[in-house]
Symmetry: C2
Subunit: 569 residues, 2 copies
């Protein structure tokens, strides 16, 4: 009897842990059909202003409560099973993906420090959410020391370790609450911690270890390097991180009796190794292949792609062996602000008459602007914009950059500016594609996923700007489907993730095709974008840095003490 064949008639559960909620998706193993789903909001959301018992948090902090994660398992999974109308006994495996780097201090048994008696009011005892940006000074130290000592791994991260990642956040903990640092037996990604809760044993996944934990070529940064950051930090990797790294899609263990009770799923079913929301989306978009770039487009955009070879791409977020799929090099790049920029404009730059028209026609303001913005020919607005309102994550890796709009006249309209902003993000993506291609990692297919795929006008702009057809992921729940695929592999239903992706992933190919005439105009505009990109972004005129410094000084000098938080990275 072919066990695999049986399993393919069964179901798996994928759980996507986002910033404010978790979604469970029940998926048929044989073909990836989505049988049912449910969402559970985190009661505490993102804790970025007030921590109960402690009071106001400093600017740029963002914490979470790990009880929300287990609570979401208990709420969303049974609801999704009910929604699917299946028997929980049909479920053969579970896998999860998480925001990253969301990391926390825990005891040797996995207990989060914030759950220990007397520590509930200590901010550093909690998971630091990916968008906790208060560790920038620590990231600066990490980067300066790495370049000073010529650490080879720094080039695997485009030359810069982010303040969002594991080491910067851990160094902040050591600096600001050394007692808690000492009490933490382990420093772990939420992506791995949730697996610990499901199967009862600690694991570490290749994705977060590589992209967020500076794990390269089989090891973490050396003791000497860590000691150079702080002598007390020398043992950090050996003490708090050290653990074998597991490939994505591997079986972490069997569902523990406690987790089975929590979720209503059968004891002992396969629990897959943890994963990250963006990266896990790649197999959800069908066949896995080097050169297939998947852009997960939401408030920001994450570009993930497998490559057959190792290359150092300037300004990428990272390259990790098996970081997306075991056996291939996983590349990641990103744009800090995409949907965020459009949302900013619709809240701040649009006259009331448009809001009224949107209400009257019962469409969203962004839909209305999409429509108005694309009613005129390409280039008719006479504008070019830089898409750095949230800083630049790739290729320049500079959070202190800001956006610019050039070409405004007294005849310029709000929809025209909006279109220039849409286009600017497409130019940013083209810059990333071009940089990968010229660095020896050619992009051969471009796939879009994420919330922004709902905007057909935006997608058409992307196709025209990058002069390539756009394939679209065939699921509205890419990360959760990607997790389900990993669950199927961990359960042994498929030999590996590529095989499972081919069967369970879904892609609609060439949904948007470039229009040659528009693409010609965009070629001209992109040349202007590149020139301004390099002028403002590569040091010719560092006006954006100086403006930010002037701004920060102005706020510091305010009589009220200058605690107001201003956006930016």
């Amino acid at each position: 009897m072919d066990v695999s064949a049986n399993k393919r008639d069964a179901y798996v559960v994928g759980v996507d842990f986002g910033t404010l909620s978790a979604r469970a998706l029940v998926v048929r193993v044989s073909d990836g059909a989505e049988a049912g789903t449910a969402v559970s909001e985190y009661p505490h959301g993102a804790i970025d202003r007030i921590l109960a018992g402690h009071g106001e948090l400093p600017p740029d902090w963002a914490l979470q409560d790990p009880a929300d994660y287990t609570g979401a398992l208990a709420a969303a999974i049974p609801a999704a099973i009910r929604n699917a109308g299946i028997d929980p006994g049909q479920v053969i495996g579970i896998a999860t993906d998480f925001t990253a780097s969301t990391c926390m201090p825990v005891l040797a048994d996995g207990t989060p420090l914030c759950q220990l008696p007397g520590l509930a009011a200590r901010p550093h005892a909690y998971p630091k959410l990916w968008k906790h940006h208060a560790a920038q000074p620590h990231a600066d130290r990490i980067n300066a020391a790495a370049h000073e000592r010529g650490e080879k791994w720094i080039n695997r991260y485009g030359g810069k370790i982010s303040s969002e990642w594991q080491f910067a956040k851990a160094l902040q903990l050591l600096d600001e609450d050394p007692e808690l640092y000492q009490r933490a037996d382990r420093w772990i990604e939420a992506a791995d911690w949730i697996i610990w809760q499901l199967c009862g044993t600690e694991t570490r996944n290749a994705c977060t270890a590589g992209y967020k934990g500076i794990y390269q070529d089989g090891s973490y940064p050396a003791r000497e390097y860590l000691a150079a950051l702080d002598p007390r930090f020398a043992d950090f990797a050996d003490d708090k991180l050290a653990h074998p790294i597991s490939p994505l899609g591997a079986r972490a263990g069997g569902l523990s009796p406690a987790a089975a009770a929590l979720t209503g799923l059968p004891v002992g079913i396969a629990v897959a190794i943890g994963n990250v929301d963006a990266h896990v989306t790649v197999p959800a978009a069908g066949p896995v292949a080097p050169g297939k770039m998947v852009a997960i487009m939401g408030t920001s955009t994450c570009h993930v792609m497998n490559g057959a070879e190792l290359a150092e791409v300037p300004g990428m977020c990272g390259v990790v062996d098996g970081g997306i799929v075991a056996g291939l090099w996983g590349y990641e790049a990103g744009q800090s602000g995409v949907g965020d920029i459009f949302a900013w404009f619709t809240s701040n730059g649009v006259p009331g008459e448009f809001a009224e028209e949107a209400r009257r026609r019962d469409v969203s303001l962004q839909q209305l602007l999409d429509e108005k913005a694309t009613a005129e020919p390409a280039g008719a607005h006479g504008l070019i914009a830089l898409d750095w309102a949230g800083g630049n994550r790739s290729v320049l890796v500079d959070g202190r950059l800001s956006a610019a709009v050039v070409g405004l006249t007294l005849a310029t309209t709000a929809p025209e500016i909006y279109r220039a902003l849409l286009e600017s993000t497409a130019f940013g993506t083209r810059m990333i594609i071009d940089t990968f291609s010229t660095s020896g990692v050619p992009v051969t297919e471009f796939v879009v996923a994420g919330g922004l795929i709902k905007s057909a006008p935006l997608m058409q702009i992307y196709a025209d700007v990058i002069r390539r057809p756009l394939s679209v992921i065939g699921s509205g729940q890419g990360p959760a489907l990607g997790s389900a695929i990993h669950a199927a592999v961990a359960a042994g239903a498929y030999p590996d993730v590529p095989a499972a992706a081919a069967a369970m992933g879904r892609i609609d190919r060439d949904v948007y095709r470039p229009d040659p005439a528009r693409a010609d105009v965009y070629d001209e505009l992109y040349a202007e974008y590149v020139q301004l990109h390099d002028y403002f972004g590569r040091g010719t005129n560092e006006v954006m840095h100086r403006l930010r410094a002037i701004r920060d000084r102005a706020y510091r000098s305010r009589a009220d003490g200058g605690t107001r938080v201003r956006g930016g990275c």
Copy 2:
């Protein structure tokens, strides 16, 4: 008996002919007190879309109907006299000022061609309003030929003759309607034509002849130069312009019986030589002195100043001997868009919530934005903008430039952008002041006039940015008061314009004083402005020209034939 003393107890009338209406102001000769005023709208306004009997006008056209000018005399003057409550017999003189260059073809007796039988439907028979911008190709020819032939006068105009001026508009007439060109005995500024209507004889004023008519060092451009533009144009200056030039403040003649009947004023009272709205404002702001720059701030800003010496200031609009006051060199510079830019932003870039708040508080949207924009410290917005949404008139003299905003983040608000736009116009003014000063024409006092002086927050920004105290004209009707001053001189009540200005003009000195801390921040921001000004404006990156070309091509390529008019110069 001292005739002058008697006259000083009398009244004069100043009439300011604007773009859409004319204002008459009755002023006491002895002290400049404003006794009464009235406005008359032109029934035809600016004819820029449809000319009755002809149909749609091409893009960038703007005409007027001269009957509106005489109609305004008949309506506004008697109303102003009534409003003043004086007897018309107390009026001893009248003077006018006009937009410029607003010029027209007329017969030898002053009859406008458009008033001849059969010519009412011919667009070229009408006065071309100052903002008629369809003669750009002709201005381009004028400039190319001037530089090719090394004409010395071109440097008196910052190196460029504007498409708005007499020669470009006349050359367009010749090109496009040669028959009408032939029938025109004279080509005359409306500023001079209206005087002809008042006193029955043709005169030519030093101001429009110099600034708009290329009259320098006692002559117009040479026949050879004009022939190079077009052989049929060789006689243009000799045939259609030639006439003695009269100094400002001189008596053009006595009020004709016909004009007396029209206006209700006494026959024979002094009619002063014509003048231009901006230039005539200088004496209205009190004592005349070299180095006193008067900025007339409205939709655009005109900077006028007397200098004791002739100098060539890069990118000025013009320098004319006696162009503002006889005996001094009159300098003019300008910013194409100022109030226009603020109005553009309030109509296009402000969310509905602000409009609602403005309604609720019964203030204008611009007042509300002024207040919100200046609530934060200087530099706190982290923005820098270029004030070229209407092109750049000085120092770059380039109508194809456009505006830019740099430093936008996801936290940037509409009032912050608005403030950056306010500041950008102040930086543009500082650039003009600096350019004059470094060219040997030092600015020693800065006086503001025009509609924008009502915005105290804007005025304070100007004081801080230019690091000088701002004096404010003491009249809300600067041009009409300036005309009245000229009327008093023409009537012999004062020996010359400076004497009349000292007695009748009004200025409040040092109303706004720079705050040193804010001025320090603005020094930093101005340095950024200068760097971007030179980068985008002096040819390093001609992206703005290219964007405009792309835009124009996009519109031409539209299926509907591309006749939509787009802003710009």
